[in-house]
C-alpha cells in the first residue's frame, strides 16, 4: 500500500514509545522503559523481597535479596530485580525453585550475623528483616559460628544511634545521606565481614535529615533517641496527618501510645515530601508531650502573677475586655497570629474578628510577604521537578523549609533543572546552583535588572518553564525590596510561576481564611507601633510571640508593653504570653483535627491522635465561645460545622470539599485571577558610614518554642554570632571567636565573631533567635537595609 488514509491513522490510539509489557509469573504487566523489574512487580500481587531497594533512591543491588529469574536466550538467568530494567516481552519468574533457593540463601546469610535480639529491638514488629525472614526465609539457620560483635549502640549523632550488630549493610542510610540529603557524613568503613557504617572521625552525622535514615533502616540498626524503648509497634495508634512545623506540609503518620505522641513517620506523598521529614518536624512531638504545656486558663491576679482559673471565668473576662475595647473603637482591638493553627482555627477567628469589626489582624509577624504574592501565577512543589530553571529569591531553604530544599536539590542533582540562586549569601543550595547571584542587601533588584542583559542567563530563562521561589531572604531588608526583586524576575521571565516561601506552618491558610489586614486594618508592625503609642486597648496574640518572632525587637517590646490588655491563646508560656493579662490554653498539633494549607496552597488534613492536654481547646472552639460571650453567633459550633462553613465561605477553600483527597495528597486551593507586578525603582540604598550591611536570617534549630521544649532538639541550636567573610576579619582586627561590638543605628550588641566564605565581603550575617545577644535588637522594620559597624572590643 502506498497511500495512507489520514483518517484511519488519526483515529488510532497514540502508542506510547516508552510503554513495554513484561510477563511476571505468567501475568502481563504494563511497564515503562527504564523502570526496574521490582517496581513493575510491585504493581502485581507478587512481592519480591528486598532490603536495599528504595523507590526514592538509586538502586545499588547490594543485598541481593531480590534475585529473580529472567528467561533469556540461554535459559533462565538469575538477576537482581532492583537493577534490571524491564524490556518488552521479558519473561520474569519470581517464584521458581531456583529463585526460592537463592532468596532463602541470601536471607540465611543476612541472618547469619544478625543478633536476633528482636524482643528488645525497637524495630521488632515492624521490621522488614523479621517479616521477610518469615515470608521468604529458610526457617532455620545453619550458622553455628560465633556472631560478629560490636559495641552496642553507638551514637552517630545527637539523636541517632547505630547498632552495628543488627546492621545488614543495605546502604540505605548511607545512600540517603549522600544522594538525598547531600550530607555524606556516614559511609562504610572496613571491608568484607567487618564492613560497617560509620561516621568520619570526630564528625557526627549532624544532618537536618538524619531521622529519615532511622525510618528507612530495614532492621533495628538505626534508632532515634526520642523513640527508643518508648513503645512497641503493636501498641501504637496511627493517624495520617500533615506536619505543620513549617509550611512545606509534609505528610506524616502521627503515632501515639497510651494517649501520648511517640513518633512521626514520613508518608511518601508524590506532590509534597516523597516520604522524607526533617529532624525538626520529626522530633518536635516532644514539645507536645512537654510538662510545661498550659493546661488551664491563666488570669493575672492583683499582684500581677498569672494564676490558674476556669474557662468560664476566663472567657467572661476576655469578653469583657473585648467589649470595653470595642466601645473605645474597633480600631483599638488587634489580632496578631493564627499561622500555627488549622485553616478552621484561622477561619473561626477571622469570622469572630469580622463579627466584632476588628480589621487589624495579621498572621504574619512583620517577616512575611504581602498577600498579593498569592495572586501571581502559582507554582506547585512538584513543578520544581519539571522546571528548566528554578530561581531562588528565597531564604536558605535548608534552614527554613528543609524538605523543599531536598526537592530543589534533587532537581539540580538529577539535572532536570538549573538552579539560579539570588541571595545576599551562599545558602545550602549554593553548591548545586548553576548560577549564583550573590548581591549585597538593598541592591537585589538592580542586580537582577543588570542580569537581564546576560545572554547565558536569558537563554536559560527562555529554555523552558521557570519556577521562582520567593521569600524573605534577609529580615534586615524590607518586604518591598523582595517585591521589587520579584517584579524584576517576572519581567525577565514573564512565563515564570511563583512559589511563595513563607515559612510559618499554616500562614498561607491563615491569610486565605482572612487573618490578614482588611479595610485599611493594621499589619503586625503597624499594630505594634499603634500599641506603643497607647492606641491598642486589647491585643490578641493567637499563638504568636512577637517578642521572639518579630524581627524588630525594640518595636515588639514597645508594642507589647504599650498595649493596655493582652489576651494570649497559646500552648506555652512564651516571652509574650508571660506578659498577657489572660492566657487561654490551646490544643496543639495532634490534639485537634482540621486542615492546613502549605506553601503551594495545598490543603490537607491534620488529624487528632491524642486528647488535648488538660483543659486546652482548639483555637476555633475558643473563637466560638468568645463569639457567644460577646453575643455573636458565628454560625458553627462543631468542627464539622466550622469546616463546612469555611468551604462555603472562602472560595479558595472550595476544593477541600474532596475529603478523600484532603486526607491523602491534598488539594490545591482555588487561585484567584492572576495579577501582574509592576516594576518600580527601589531606594538606591547607598551606604551610610557604617562598614557592614546586615544579613539576618533564621536557622532551623533556634529558640522557637517547639524546638526549645523538645529535649532532643533543644541542644542542637547554635549560639548567636556575627559571621563575616574571612577577608573582612583582619579589617575588624579581632580574632575569630573573640567578642566584637556590633552597632546599628538602633543598638549595640556584643557578639562572638565568626568567619565563613558563604558571606559576602562587606556584609555580616547574623542568625537570629539563638542563645546570646539577639540581632533582632539591631533591626528597624522601617528601614530598607541595616548597616552595621563591627569593632574590636578595646
Amino acid at each position: 500500500m502506498t497511500t495512507v488514509d489520514s483518517n484511519t491513522t488519526a483515529s488510532e490510539p497514540v502508542v506510547d514509545p516508552n510503554a513495554v509489557s513484561v510477563t511476571i509469573n505468567g501475568k502481563v504487566v504494563a511497564a515503562r522503559k527504564g523502570e526496574m523489574i521490582i517496581a513493575a512487580a510491585d504493581r502485581t500481587d507478587d512481592f519480591i523481597p528486598r532490603f536495599c531497594y528504595h523507590p526514592r533512591m538509586e538502586p545499588v543491588g547490594m543485598c541481593r535479596q531480590c534475585l529473580v529469574e529472567v528467561v533469556g536466550p540461554r535459559g533462565p538467568m538469575m538477576v537482581v530485580s532492583c537493577m534490571t530494567p524491564v524490556a518488552d516481552g521479558q519473561v520474569v519468574n519470581t517464584e521458581t525453585e531456583g529463585v526460592k533457593k537463592a532468596q532463602e540463601g541470601v536471607l540465611e546469610l543476612l541472618l547469619a550475623n544478625h543478633p536476633l535480639d528482636c524482643p528488645v529491638c525497637d524495630k521488632g514488629g515492624e521490621c522488614p528483616l523479621q517479616d521477610q525472614a518469615f515470608s521468604h526465609g529458610p526457617g532455620e539457620s545453619r550458622f553455628v559460628e560465633e556472631k560478629r560483635h560490636y559495641e552496642k549502640p553507638i551514637a552517630i549523632s545527637e539523636n541517632v544511634y547505630l547498632d552495628r550488630e543488627r546492621c545488614i549493610l543495605c546502604d540505605r542510610c548511607t545512600r540517603f545521606a549522600d544522594e538525598v540529603a547531600g550530607d555524606a557524613l556516614i559511609s562504610f568503613t572496613s571491608r568484607g565481614n567487618n564492613t560497617q557504617v560509620m561516621t568520619f572521625p570526630d564528625e557526627p552525622f549532624s544532618s537536618y535529615f538524619s531521622g529519615n535514615t532511622v525510618q528507612i533502616c530495614p532492621v533495628g540498626a538505626l534508632t532515634a533517641k526520642p523513640y527508643r524503648f518508648k513503645a512497641r509497634p503493636w501498641d501504637i495508634e496511627h493517624v495520617e496527618s500533615t506536619c505543620t512545623t513549617c509550611s512545606v506540609g509534609c505528610r506524616t503518620v502521627v503515632q501515639s501510645s497510651r494517649d501520648e505522641l511517640v513518633r512521626y513517620q514520613g508518608v511518601d506523598s508524590q506532590p509534597v515530601n516523597w516520604g522524607w521529614l526533617c529532624d525538626k518536624g520529626r522530633f518536635n512531638f516532644e514539645s507536645i508531650n512537654s510538662k510545661d504545656r498550659l493546661t488551664t486558663p491563666l488570669i493575672k491576679d492583683a499582684s500581677g502573677n498569672l494564676s490558674a482559673s476556669s474557662w468560664s471565668v476566663a472567657i467572661d473576662s476576655v469578653a469583657r475586655m473585648l467589649r470595653t475595647a470595642l466601645t473605645v473603637s474597633p480600631q483599638s482591638v488587634a489580632i496578631i497570629g493564627g499561622a500555627r493553627g488549622t485553616n478552621e482555627d484561622a477561619f473561626a477567628w477571622a469570622q469572630l474578628a469580622n463579627a466584632l469589626g476588628v480589621d487589624s489582624r495579621d498572621s504574619q509577624l512583620a517577616d512575611g510577604l504581602p498577600p498579593q504574592v498569592f495572586s501571581l501565577p502559582q507554582a506547585t512543589i512538584a513543578d520544581i521537578d519539571t522546571a528548566k530553571t528554578i530561581i531562588l529569591l528565597a531564604p536558605d531553604l535548608k534552614e527554613e523549609l528543609p524538605i523543599l530544599y531536598l526537592r530543589v536539590r534533587h532537581a539540580a542533582e538529577k539535572r532536570t533543572g538549573r538552579v539560579i540562586e539570588v541571595s545576599p549569601r551562599a545558602t545550602g543550595l549554593a553548591g548545586k546552583a548553576w548560577k549564583k547571584v550573590h548581591v549585597e542587601p538593598g541592591k537585589t533588584a538592580a542586580a537582577l535588572r543588570a542580569l537581564a542583559t546576560d545572554a547565558a542567563f536569558t537563554a536559560q530563562i527562555a529554555s523552558g518553564s521557570v519556577v521562582v521561589i520567593v521569600g524573605r531572604m534577609n529580615l534586615a531588608e524590607s518586604e518591598e525590596s523582595v517585591v521589587h526583586a520579584l517584579a524584576e524576575v517576572l519581567h525577565i521571565a514573564p512565563h515564570a510561576t511563583v512559589l511563595p516561601a513563607l515559612r510559618r506552618g499554616n500562614v498561607r491558610g491563615a491569610i486565605t481564611a482572612g487573618l490578614t489586614p482588611r479595610n485599611g486594618g493594621k499589619s503586625t508592625a503597624e499594630i505594634l507601633e499603634a500599641a506603643a503609642a497607647g492606641k491598642i486597648e486589647c491585643l490578641v496574640l493567637l499563638g504568636a510571640d512577637p517578642l521572639s518572632d518579630v524581627p524588630d525587637a525594640d518595636l515588639a517590646r514597645r508594642g507589647i508593653s504599650g498595649a493596655r490588655n493582652i489576651i494570649a491563646i497559646d500552648t506555652f508560656i512564651t516571652q509574650s504570653s508571660a506578659l498577657a493579662d489572660i492566657v487561654l490554653p490551646a490544643a496543639a498539633y495532634g490534639e485537634k483535627e482540621g486542615t492546613t494549607t502549605n506553601v503551594e496552597g495545598r490543603i490537607s488534613n491534620v488529624a487528632q491522635s491524642i486528647t488535648p492536654v488538660g483543659t486546652s481547646r482548639p483555637d476555633w472552639m475558643i473563637a466560638v465561645e468568645l463569639g457567644t460571650a460577646t453575643s455573636h453567633d458565628l454560625g458553627f459550633a462543631s468542627y464539622n460545622e466550622v469546616h463546612a462553613a469555611m468551604i462555603s465561605g472562602v472560595s479558595e477553600f472550595v476544593p477541600a470539599i474532596d475529603t478523600h483527597a484532603v486526607e491523602h495528597d491534598g488539594v490545591i486551593v482555588a487561585h484567584p485571577t492572576p495579577i501582574a507586578l509592576t516594576r518600580a525603582d527601589g531606594a538606591s540604598n547607598e551606604r551610610n558610614s557604617y562598614d557592614y550591611r546586615a544579613v539576618v536570617s533564621r536557622k532551623l534549630y533556634d529558640n522557637a518554642i517547639g524546638t526549645a521544649k523538645s529535649p532532643s532538639l533543644a541542644t542542637l541550636a547554635i549560639s548567636a554570632a556575627v559571621i563575616v567573610n574571612p577577608l573582612d576579619v583582619p579589617r575588624i582586627g579581632a580574632q575569630v571567636g573573640e567578642s566584637v561590638r556590633v552597632t546599628s543605628q538602633r543598638a549595640t550588641l556584643v557578639l562572638p565573631l565568626q568567619e565563613s566564605v558563604d558571606v559576602l565581603r562587606g556584609t555580616a550575617w547574623l542568625p537570629i533567635n539563638l542563645s546570646g545577644s539577639d540581632a533582632r535588637e539591631l533591626l528597624d522594620v522601617t528601614k530598607d537595609v541595616i548597616d552595621l559597624k563591627i569593632e574590636k572590643m578595646s
Binding site: V60, G61, M62, C63, R64, Q65, L67, M78, V80, M83, T84, P85, G98, K101, A102, G105, V106, E108, L109, L110, A112, N113, R142, F143, E145, I168, L169, D171, S187, F188, S190, R191, G192, N193, N194, T195
Partner: protein
C-alpha cells in the same frame, strides 16, 4: 646513553629463546629509562600509528585479535568499538591494579618497561578516540609507581604525551593514580569507583557497562597493562606478524607467572595458544619440572580464583576455548603449582581466607558467605570439623554460586568436567572466588578433608527395662 648491561634474566623474569613482544627490553639493566627505550625502537609504534588514520590503527588492532590479558580474554579491538559514537569525552583507564594471587606480570611490565606501557596507552587513545588516560597502579607496587611516574615525566618532557603529540593534532593527557590496597579494585567497575574517589566497590553491569557508562558517567575503556604493552610491537610489525605467532584464536604471546613448587618459578613470555601447561611446568626452557622431582598434585591455571587442574589437564594449551570447557579459566595468567607434599585443605584455606578478607562487603553472599566458608574450613583444618561441615561448605557455596560449580575432569575419581563459568548471586567474581579453591579441593581431594574430620563414635544406649510388676 648508559652502557648496555645485559642480565641473563631480570629479577623474577625468565627470558629464554622465544619471540618477545612485550619483554624485549627486560634484559637491559636500564630498560626503564627513556634513553634505552628510544635506543631500542621506542615510540616507533606511536609514530607509525600517528601517521595513519585512527580507524586504520583500530582495524589493525582488531585484525590482530589482541586478547585482553586481565582475565576475561575479550579482544581489545572489539572492546574499543563498543563505545557509543558522538559522545565526548571518552576515557581510557589502565588497570594496573594487578592483585590476583599468584600474578605479578604487570608489575614487571611497569617496573621494567614503563615507556612501552605509555606508548601503548597513547596508541589506544589515538585508535579509539579517547581523550584522556587514567593509569591506575596498585597501591602496594612502590617501584612500579616510581618508574611509571618517572617515565611519564620523561615522556611529557620529550613531547610524547600532552598537547599535539609529535607535532600531530593528537593530544592526550595521562593521569597517574595509586590504589589504596583493595583486591576488588582489579575489577573494572570497582576500579572506576575508586578512581572517582569512592570506596572501591563494583557496580552492577548493566547499567554500568564501562564502555557506555564508566568513569564520571562517560564511555570508558578499561584495558589491562599487558594488553596495552602489546600495541607498540603490533604497530611496528603489523597484525600479520602478530597473528603469525600463536594460534588464530589466541595470537601473539602472553605473560605467565608461575609460582609454587617448581624448580624455576618466574614470569615467562610464552607463545599463546600452542604452549601447553606441560611445556610450561616441565619444559627445560621454562620451569624445568616440579621441585625435588616430586609428583604434581594440582595446579591453579589462571590466578587464585580459578578452579584447579591436576596432572590430567597438563596437555591443555593456553587457549581459552579449551581451558573453559575443561572446567577452569586462564584468567590473569598466574599458575600456582602444588606438589605431592601439599596439604590441600590448608592450601585451600589460604586462598579462601584471601578472598573472604578481600570481599568489599557489598553483596551479602560474598560478605557473609566468604567468612562463613573460611570459618568452617578453619575448623576442618584444625581437626575439629565434622562430616556435616564438609557438606555445609558446599551448601554455603551454593548460596554464592547456585547450580553446578565448574571443575576439571579426573580419571581416577571418575569425574567428568563441568565447564566454566559458574552462575553467581553476587555482582563480581570475588564471592565465587572464595568458594572456587575450596570446591576444587573438596571435589578432587575429598579424602584429605575427611581424614581431618572428627570421628565421632556413637555409643549405643541400651535401655535397661525392669519388668513392671503389678499387684504382687
Amino acid at each position: 646513553m648508559t652502557t648496555a648491561i645485559k642480565y641473563p634474566h631480570a629479577v623474577g623474569f625468565v627470558a629464554g629463546d622465544r619471540p618477545k613482544i612485550v619483554t624485549s627490553r627486560f634484559e637491559y639493566a636500564d630498560s626503564y629509562t627513556i634513553e634505552r627505550f628510544l635506543a631500542t625502537g621506542g615510540y616507533a609504534g606511536l609514530r607509525k600509528a600517528l601517521g595513519r588514520a585512527a580507524t586504520d590503527v583500530h582495524e589493525e588492532v582488531k585484525s590482530a585479535t589482541v586478547l585482553g590479558r586481565g582475565g576475561a580474554g575479550f579482544p581489545a579491538g572489539t572492546k574499543w568499538g563498543l563505545t557509543p559514537q558522538q559522545v565526548f569525552p571518552k576515557y581510557l583507564v589502565v588497570n594496573g591494579d594487578e592483585s590476583e594471587p599468584g600474578t605479578y606480570k604487570d608489575r614487571l611490565l611497569m617496573e621494567r618497561d614503563p615507556h612501552q606501557l605509555i606508548e601503548g596507552c597513547l596508541i589506544a587513545c589515538y585508535a579509539a578516540g579517547l581523550s584522556q588516560c587514567f593509569l591506575y597502579i596498585r597501591g602496594e607496587m612502590a617501584l612500579a609507581q616510581e618508574r611509571v611516574a618517572a617515565a611519564l615525566n620523561e615522556a611529557y618532557a620529550a613531547g610524547y604525551v600532552g598537547k599535539n603529540i609529535l607535532g600531530s593534532k593528537f593530544s592526550v593527557d595521562i593521569v597517574l593514580h595509586w590504589g589504596a590496597g583493595a583486591y576488588v579494585v582489579g575489577e573494572e567497575t570497582a576500579l572506576i569507583e575508586s578512581l572517582e574517589g569512592n570506596r572501591g566497590m563494583p557496580r552492577l553491569k548493566p547499567p554500568f557497562f564501562p564502555a557506555a557508562n564508566g568513569l564520571y558517567g562517560q564511555p570508558t575503556i578499561v584495558n589491562n597493562v599487558e594488553t596495552l604493552a602489546n600495541l607498540p610491537w603490533l604497530m611496528v610489525n603489523g597484525s600479520e606478524a602478530y597473528t603469525a605467532i600463536g594460534t588464530k584464536t589466541s595470537p601473539g604471546t602472553r605473560m605467565v607467572a608461575v609460582s609454587g613448587h617448581v624448580k624455576n618459578p618466574g614470569v615467562f613470555e610464552i607463545i599463546n595458544g600452542t604452549t601447553t601447561f606441560r611445556d610450561l611446568l616441565y619444559g627445560a626452557e621454562f620451569c624445568g619440572g616440579i621441585r625435588n622431582d616430586n609428583e604434581l598434585k594440582a595446579f591453579v591455571p589462571g590466578g587464585g580464583s580459578a578452579p584447579w587442574f591436576t596432572a590430567d589437564q597438563l596437555d591443555l594449551p593456553f587457549e581459552a576455548s579449551q581451558v573453559g570447557p575443561a572446567g577452569s579459566m586462564l584468567g590473569s595468567g598466574a599458575i600456582m603449582v602444588m606438589d605431592s607434599t601439599t596439604d590441600i585443605p590448608a592450601a585451600a584455606l589460604t586462598l579462601t581466607h584471601f578472598y573472604a578478607h578481600e570481599s568489599c562487603g557489598k553483596c551479602t553472599p560474598c560478605r557473609e558467605g566468604g567468612t562463613w566458608l573460611e570459618r568452617i574450613l578453619t575448623r576442618i583444618v584444625d581437626g575439629t570439623g565434622t562430616e556435616a561441615d564438609l557438606q555445609q561448605i558446599l551448601e554455603v557455596g551454593a548460596m554464592i554460586c547456585p547450580g553446578d560449580f565448574p571443575h576439571a575432569s579426573n580419571e581416577k575419581l571418575g569425574l567428568a568436567a563441568v565447564p566454566f563459568p559458574y552462575k553467581m548471586t553476587t555482582i563480581c567474581f570475588v564471592g565465587p572466588s572464595a568458594f572456587a579453591p575450596l570446591h576444587s579441593a573438596i571435589t578432587l581431594f575429598r579424602s584429605e578433608f575427611e581424614a581431618r574430620l572428627v570421628k565421632r563414635i556413637s555409643i549405643p544406649v541400651t535401655a535397661v527395662s525392669t519388668p513392671l510388676t503389678v499387684g504382687a
